[in-house]
């Protein structure tokens, strides 16, 4: 009627503008399609080849989603309604079936006859042999992990025919089969890799670093380190049920606040590995899965090379002085599981287990008085700046509590780059926080790494002859062996009495989801995208 700007017209314009806005916001969501998932994470994928030295933890997910192993683990429901892998159930992935010889020394695998690599070539036992040879030969982490399952030399592996693969063991071990289902022993397209290998680089580490060559559920469509990785579904996958999602975008967002805003608004469907604080606060609004990390304990470690800690009364006094509940709330926001206030008598072989210690300052004082250090002493309490989110509040509370029993602790913050050298290699920190977690979920495996003398995660320089002997005896023993449980119980008893590591709590891995479901927790603490669907 009139094109004069009146107040009415102005308001109309405003209303029209406002009504357009929601559509603008919805556009990216519509454009991404119904079978694309967006995941944000704070860590960098720095290689597409797990076997390469220097590959970051975050990069393990490529090994999981893009490659197949012979075997995989089953799935179980967790207490909070989520899913977790099931250590006790072994399922086939590339293997169709497998048999174990009478003495347990020969494992024979039949490969799925219809399994193909992405380039269409059939997966053969020769590929498996090449991949296993590679894992035990390249050195570094993959070789160590293979060794844990008794897989040490290429001559242990044999490709009998195209579909039959045989592993010969030096000794039978209950860890071998589970070790075949961890991310490391994945099957590489050996023909493609060999074509790109050089004399100086016989295992094609440079090629596979940038170009995965596998048979797994997803292929890598794009990879920009420091920014994003895009997975695309392999339509011919036979390792399991075909995943629901066609495309998965993994975006790297370093700031936790930004990750939280993104998942809360629903612009991304998964925020992987979010801080405990965000998990606690988001839990009412969207789906948050906080799964206690299996076989992992956050500990306070008194080092036996530091003289006062050789006194058992001092170590026990510390165990009674620690304000466990406060630490669990301040450092973990209640995500995870408490590790204190349990029964002293050991009736089961579940690990991690609650210790018999609890906060009792009077008892701690008595124990200190009974020790050779009744007047107290000074000690540095070391933490890693990289892990400050849980270590800093924990250390402050421990410091305060130790002050009450006459131990004057000064907090020493060590930069992330030095931390591993100082705590694990040189093992020189008198009192420190530590958080080892074992991939293979058996107590003996934890003891092997954390309580045996000289082993990497035994940062307290602990040595006990009986523990040495019992750990060696139980490490490869089947768990249903009648001797197994009594030995394990005895091991628990010793280390919980001698306390080279004082358990604080079992941490959780937090994953927030908004618009997706089917998340499954894995011991490797990386996202397995294969079972995830959009809601």
């Amino acid at each position: 009627m009139t094109d004069k700007t009146s107040r009415r017209n102005f308001l109309k314009m405003g209303a029209a503008g406002a009504s357009v806005l929601p559509f603008l916001r919805a556009m990216p969501a519509a454009a991404q399609g119904s079978d694309t998932l967006v995941v944000v994470t704070g860590t960098t994928i720095n290689s597409l080849d797990l076997h390469r030295s220097g590959t970051s933890r975050a990069a393990y997910q490529v090994g999981i989603n893009c490659y197949d192993r012979l075997l995989s683990f089953g799935t179980k429901q967790t207490a909070d309604g989520g899913f977790s892998y099931d250590y006790t159930v072994i399922e086939p992935e590339l293997a169709e079936s497998w048999t174990e010889s009478e003495d347990g020394l020969t494992l024979t695998f039949k490969l799925k006859p219809n399994a193909t690599f992405w380039d269409g070539r059939k997966v053969t036992a020769a590929d498996v042999k090449w991949s296993f040879d590679r894992a035990v030969s390249v050195g570094g982490f993959p070789t160590v992990q293979m060794k844990a399952g008794g897989l040490e030399r290429p001559d242990q592996f044999e490709a009998v025919d195209d579909e039959t693969f045989v592993i010969k063991l030096d000794r039978a071990s209950k860890l071998t089969i589970p070790d075949l289902a961890v991310p490391v022993p994945y099957i590489i397209n050996s023909v493609e890799a060999a074509a790109n290998a050089t004399e100086a680089d016989p295992w094609a580490t440079e090629y596979l670093h940038m170009t995965p060559a596998g048979s797994g559920a997803y292929k890598v469509a794009r990879w920009t380190p420091g920014e994003q990785l895009v997975y695309e579904r392999n339509e011919d996958w036979v390792g399991g049920p075909l995943p629901a999602l066609k495309r998965v975008v993994i975006r790297e967002v370093p700031s936790p606040a930004t990750r939280r805003a993104l998942v809360e608004r629903g612009d991304v469907q998964v925020a992987f590995d979010i801080p405990d604080k965000d998990a606690a606060e988001l839990a009412d609004k969207i789906d948050v899965f906080s799964t206690p990390v299996e076989n992992c304990i956050h500990c306070l470690c008194p080092n036996f090379t530091f003289e006062p800690f050789q006194d058992a009364n001092v170590r026990k006094a510390i165990a009674y002085a620690i304000p466990y509940e406060d630490i669990f709330q301040a450092a973990a926001y209640g995500r995870g599981l408490p590790m204190w206030g349990g029964e002293e008598e050991i009736n089961d072989i579940a690990w991690p287990r609650k210790t018999q210690y609890y906060t009792d300052i009077e008892k701690a004082k008595e124990l200190m008085a009974a020790s050779a250090y009744a007047d107290g002493f000074d000690v540095p309490l070391s933490i890693s700046l990289d892990l400050a989110s849980w270590m800093e509040p924990t250390a402050l509370l421990v410091q305060e509590a130790l002050g009450k029993i006459g131990i004057n602790a000064t907090i020493e913050k060590i930069p992330g780059a030095n931390w591993r050298t100082a705590v694990l290699v040189e093992k020189r920190l008198p009192l420190h926080l530590e958080n080892f977690g074992g991939w293979l979920n058996t107590p003996d495996y934890y003891f092997f790494w954390a309580y045996q003398d000289g082993h990497l995660f035994n940062s307290s320089n602990y040595r006990n002859e009986e523990i040495e002997e019992l750990t060696n005896a139980t490490l490869h023993m089947p768990m249903d062996d009648p001797e197994y449980a009594p030995k394990i119980k005895r091991m628990f008893e010793i280390v919980l009495d001698e306390l080279p590591r004082i358990p604080l709590y079992q941490p959780a891995l937090n994953v927030a989801m908004n618009g997706a479901q089917g998340y499954e927790f894995w011991f490797h603490r990386q996202l397995d995208i294969r079972p995830i669907t959009l809601t």
């Binding site: 990216p28 991404q32 220097g54 700031s255 992330g416 591993r420």
Partner: protein, 344 residues
């Protein structure tokens, strides 16, 4: 020929003078990274590595060789244009820098242009009308700009414009995942997308740029506005302006031809400084907005003692500053003809 073009000769001389600086940077960055605490072999050997595998990693990384030998290997590679292999990103450092430096430059330059567009007029207005509301506004903006840390402003802007209002796009780095990167020409998405004529992507990149650039602009406009105001005040109170006024020149001419041009020198100096520190200091903005820039790259490399990456970063920055100083010096001569190269 060189004698006939003094400016070209002077420029070449300046570039020649920067060679010792670059050599010094190479030596110092090499020594400093080695002096960093921490053992990269332990870090990169992985979570469950034992002593033997750490030693294998050390040999593979060439860290078992004596320091002098490592240095000569490094310099030899450098002369062939090889900056080494970054361990944390798994790619060659040159490739990383080529990818990340433009990202940082694009962000910093946009922020700086934004800051200039706001700060210079604001400073001029504040100087010409001291004590009025414009002056007070200038003061408030400047104080807020310097006192609010960038990560705070960044998170605040995300909270308001993305989380609450939903106007801003997801803070997911340089481009939303629905777009494809434009073909690499300069590495600056806005320029590359414009060159391709892909305006859809251009708009996508520009949208992503607004919030981080505003955050950084808020921080950088403070010194620029302050310096503009102070320099303008000095210029306006000087004798030649009084003379100009007495001669009856128009206000406009006095302000822009005489006062502003004279005030421009310190402003350009400040701009150079602001640009250099913003390029390094926007690491916090990069973290908050998931911006794959050079600042966060360097910090991450430092944390894990990724020698090659740190050295490459320092070297790239050194070269950039040498170039920047040269450009600023050339700008001086353009702005103020009294400054010549001959005197140096």
């Amino acid at each position: 020929m060189l004698a006939s073009t003094p400016r070209l000769r002077a420029t070449l001389l300046r570039i020649a003078q920067s060679i010792p600086v670059v050599i010094g940077v190479v030596v110092i960055s090499f020594l400093l990274t080695r002096a960093l605490p921490g053992d990269p072999a332990v870090y990169f050997a992985g979570v469950a590595a034992d002593t033997a595998s750490i030693e294998q990693t050390r040999v593979a990384m060439g860290l078992d060789k004596p320091l002098v030998q490592q240095f000569f290997i490094y310099v030899g590679d450098l002369l062939q244009g090889d900056l080494g292999q970054s361990l944390s990103s798994g790619r060659s450092v040159a490739e990383d820098l080529a990818k990340r430096l433009p990202a940082s430059l694009e962000l910093t330059l946009t922020a700086l242009l934004l800051a200039i567009a706001i700060a210079v007029p604001l400073g001029v207005l504040a100087a010409t009308r001291p004590g009025t509301w414009v002056d007070h506004l200038c003061r408030v903006v400047v104080t807020a700009g310097v006192s609010l840390p960038t990560f705070f402003t960044g998170i605040l802007l995300i909270y308001i414009f993305y989380y609450l209002l939903g106007i801003a796009p997801s803070p997911l780095g340089r481009l939303d995942f629905i777009y494809l990167d434009p073909d690499h020409v300069t590495g600056c998405y806005l320029i590359d997308a414009a060159l391709m004529g892909d305006w859809e992507t251009w708009r996508g990149a520009a949208k992503q740029l607004i919030l981080p650039a505003s955050t950084l602009a808020l921080f950088t406009l403070a010194p620029v506005a302050r310096m503009t105001r102070a320099a303008m005040l000095t210029a306006l109170s000087s004798d030649f302006i009084r003379t100009a006024r007495a001669s009856g020149l128009s206000n406009q001419t006095i302000l822009y031809r005489y006062a502003f041009r004279n005030a421009l020198l310190p402003v350009v100096t400040t701009l150079g400084m602001v640009f250099s520190f913003a390029l390094g200091a926007n690491v916090l903005v990069e973290k908050v907005f998931a911006w794959p820039g050079i600042g966060s790259y360097a910090v991450e490399a430092l944390v894990v003692s990724d020698y090659a990456a740190v050295q490459g970063f320092v070297l790239a920055m050194a070269l950039l500053f040498v170039a920047l100083n040269l450009v600023i010096d050339l700008l001086y001569t353009a702005i103020d003809p009294r400054i010549g190269f001959s005197s140096k």
